[in-house]
Symmetry: none
Subunit: 208 residues, 4 copies
Amino acid sequence: MSTMNPSRLGRPVDADRRAARRRQIINGARGVFARKGFHAASTAEISAEAGVSGANLYQYFATKDDLIMSLIEENLAGDLALIESLNDAKSLKQGIMSLGKALFETPPGRQSHALRLEILAESFRQEEVAATLRRAEIRMIDTLGAIIGKAQVSGEVPDEISTLQAAATIIACVDGFMSRIAFTPISAEAQLAGFVMLITAALRLQQS
Amino acid sequence: MSTMNPSRLGRPVDADRRAARRRQIINGARGVFARKGFHAASTAEISAEAGVSGANLYQYFATKDDLIMSLIEENLAGDLALIESLNDAKSLKQGIMSLGKALFETPPGRQSHALRLEILAESFRQEEVAATLRRAEIRMIDTLGAIIGKAQVSGEVPDEISTLQAAATIIACVDGFMSRIAFTPISAEAQLAGFVMLITAALRLQQS
Amino acid sequence: MSTMNPSRLGRPVDADRRAARRRQIINGARGVFARKGFHAASTAEISAEAGVSGANLYQYFATKDDLIMSLIEENLAGDLALIESLNDAKSLKQGIMSLGKALFETPPGRQSHALRLEILAESFRQEEVAATLRRAEIRMIDTLGAIIGKAQVSGEVPDEISTLQAAATIIACVDGFMSRIAFTPISAEAQLAGFVMLITAALRLQQS
Amino acid sequence: MSTMNPSRLGRPVDADRRAARRRQIINGARGVFARKGFHAASTAEISAEAGVSGANLYQYFATKDDLIMSLIEENLAGDLALIESLNDAKSLKQGIMSLGKALFETPPGRQSHALRLEILAESFRQEEVAATLRRAEIRMIDTLGAIIGKAQVSGEVPDEISTLQAAATIIACVDGFMSRIAFTPISAEAQLAGFVMLITAALRLQQS
DNA sequence: TATGAATGAGGCTTCATTCAT
DNA sequence: TATGAATGAAGCCTCATTCAT
C-alpha cells in the first residue's frame, strides 16, 4: 500500500538540522527548568526560550516528560564527562582540587547545580528517573574508581582503600556541598577547605 | 501552655483547635509534597489527604505558597531538633553513629528525605526559601558546633579543629548521602561505612 | 483521620440545585451537539450556551465523554417515554398517526432528529454507545410490543402477527424516515402517507 | 478515456496517476472516517492510512472539508449504482431480496453503513451536504421509480401504486434498518423478514 | 510532485482561589 | 468555622494547514 519512495521524492531528512534543533530546545529547557523546576516550567516558556513554536517542540519530543528524561540523560552524560576529565590532570589531587574550585564558583555553576538538585529530587518521585540515575551513578563510580586505581598504581593513593567505596563517597560529598550553594552562610574558601579535607581523608592522601 | 485555665480565658480551646487543624493540614501536605513535589501537588489532593475541605485550607494558610513556607519552617525545626538530640548521646561519636544509622533506614526516612531534597531544590528558585534555609543552616551549624565544642572539652575531639567548620562539613555530608538514597547502588552498610569514615575524619576522631 | 461532621458543618448539599444545574448543562449541550455533532462541539461552546463557566462543567461531568453518555441516556429515556405515550391514545392507529405527524413537523423536531442520528452514528464507533443503545432498543421493542399486544386483545390488530417483530420493524421505520428529514425532496404529506402505509402493513391494520 | 493514445497527448499518464492517487487518498479516508467519524478523524491519520505524506493530501484536496465532500459524492454514486444493479435481477422482488440480504451481512457492510450514517448525520449540520444528499436522493428515487415502473409493465407490481412514492419509501426503509445494525438485538434473519415484509407491502407484491 | 518541518489556533482539563451558605 | 459551588487563568497537547526543499 505504501508508495513511499526513499530515493528522490520529497524533502530529504537533514539529520544535522534535526539534531541542532533538538539541542536548541533542550538548551532552552535547561534554562527554564533550572529557574522554575520541572513541574513549574511550562512548555510555552520553554519553547519561547528556545526560539521555537510551542507546537514544534512536539516534533522532537513526544511529551514534556520525554523532554525531561532526555535532558536528564544529557546532563548525566555531562557529569560523567566531568569525572572523566580527571584523567587529564597531573595528579588525582590536582584534578579533584580543580573540580572543587569550579564547584564553588557561583555564577557559572548555579544553573547546573539547580538542575542537578532538581534531578535528584525527581528521583524520589519517578522510578524511571531513579533507574536512570542509578545507571549513571554506577558508571560514575566505576569511572572514578578506575581513576583512583590508577592513582594507586602511581603511588598517590594507598593500596588498602577500596576504590569503589572511595569513589562513591566522594561523589556523595560533591552533591552534599553542591546542594547548599544557594544558601550556605559559609564562604567559598571555607567550603573548599572542608571539601578538600574530606576528599583527602577519603583517599588517605598526605595532608598538604 | 494554653490549657492552664479554661475558665479564665475566652477561647483557649479554639486556639488549640486551630493549632491542631493547622498541623493536620501540614501533615497532609507533607505526604503529598513528598510524593509529588511542591508544584505538582494540588491543594485539592492535600486537603483530601488531610481530611479537610479544599476551602478550609485557606482559613489556615493564606496561599499555597504560605503553606509551603510553613511546612518548610516546621521541617527545618525538626532537623534542628535532630541535631539537638545529640546532646542526649553518651558520646558525640555514638550520637552521630545513631543518626547515621537512622539516615540509611530506607522506609521511615524516605518521605522526609524526599521533602528535604525538595526544599533544597526550591532554595535555588525562591530567594525567600534560600533565606529561610540560610537562617536554619546557621542555627544548625551553631548548635552542632557547640556540641562539638563540648566534645572538645571532654577530650573526645581534638582542640585544634574549627568547631563551626567541622559542623558545616558534617551537615553537608549528611545531605550528600541523603540525596542519593532513592537510587544508590551502594548497600546501606557501605553507605554507613563511608559516612562514618568522613565524620571521623572531619572530627579527627580515633579510628574505631 | 477524617474530621467530616455531616451534621451541621459547612454548606449543606442542595440536591435540587445540583440537579437543575446538571439539566441546564445537558440542555446547553443538546443544542450545541445537535448543531455541530459530538466531536466538533467544544466544551467552551457548550458551557457558554448553558450559561456556565467552562470549569464548572467539570463539577457535574467528569469528562466530555461522560457528558455525551449522560445526554445519550437522557435522550433515549425520552424516546422511550414517547413510545409509552401511545398508551394514552384512543387506538393504536390513532397514536401512531399522531406520532408520525409530530415526526414530520420540521421545526420542533429538527434538533432532536439531528441528535438521534448523531447517536446512531456514534453507535458504530464506541462499543459503549452501542451497548447503551442496545439496552434502550430492547426496552423500546418490549414496550411497543406490549402496546401492540393490548391492541390485539382489543381486536385492533390481528392475533397472528409477532408483536416484537412488528415493534422492531416500526421503530426501524421511524428512524428511516427521520434520517432524511434534512434533505428529502418529498413533501411532509407524502412522507406521512408512506409512513402510515408501512405501519398499516406491519400491523396488518385495515386500510383507512 | 485517458488511455487512448499515450503518444499523442502530453501527459495522460500523469492524469491517470493523479486520479489514482486521489482514489488512494479517498480510500484511506473512507476507513478512518468510518472508524472515527468526520470530525474526530485527523488528516494525519488519513494520510498515514493512505500511505501518503500529510502535506501531499493538499495537492489533491483543497481542504479537509473538500475531501469529505468528495468522499460523500463518491459514496452516493456508489449507492446509486447499487440501485441500478437492480436492473440486472430476474425480477424486482429477487433483486430487492438480494440487496436486503447483503444489507444484513455484518462484516462487509459495517464500514459502509457507518459512513452512510455519518453522512446522513452531517446533512443536519452542513447545508451543502444536505443539498448534495438531496440531489442524490432525487436520482435514487427516480432510478428506483423507473425500475418499479418496468416491474409494473411486466405485471410484477400493480399499476395503481405511485412509483416515486414507493421508491422513496423503500429507500427510507433501507436506511432505517441500516441505522441500527451496530446495536440491534434482532437477529439478521428476523431483520430480513421485517424488511421483506415492508417492501412487499410498499410494492403490494403477492405474499411469498 | 512529494515530503519533512513549522506553526497559530484551539481543545480538554486542572488548578488555586473566592464566594455563598 | 467549615463546606459546596464557582471560575479565570493556565497547561499540555493536537490539528489543519502552509512553507521549504
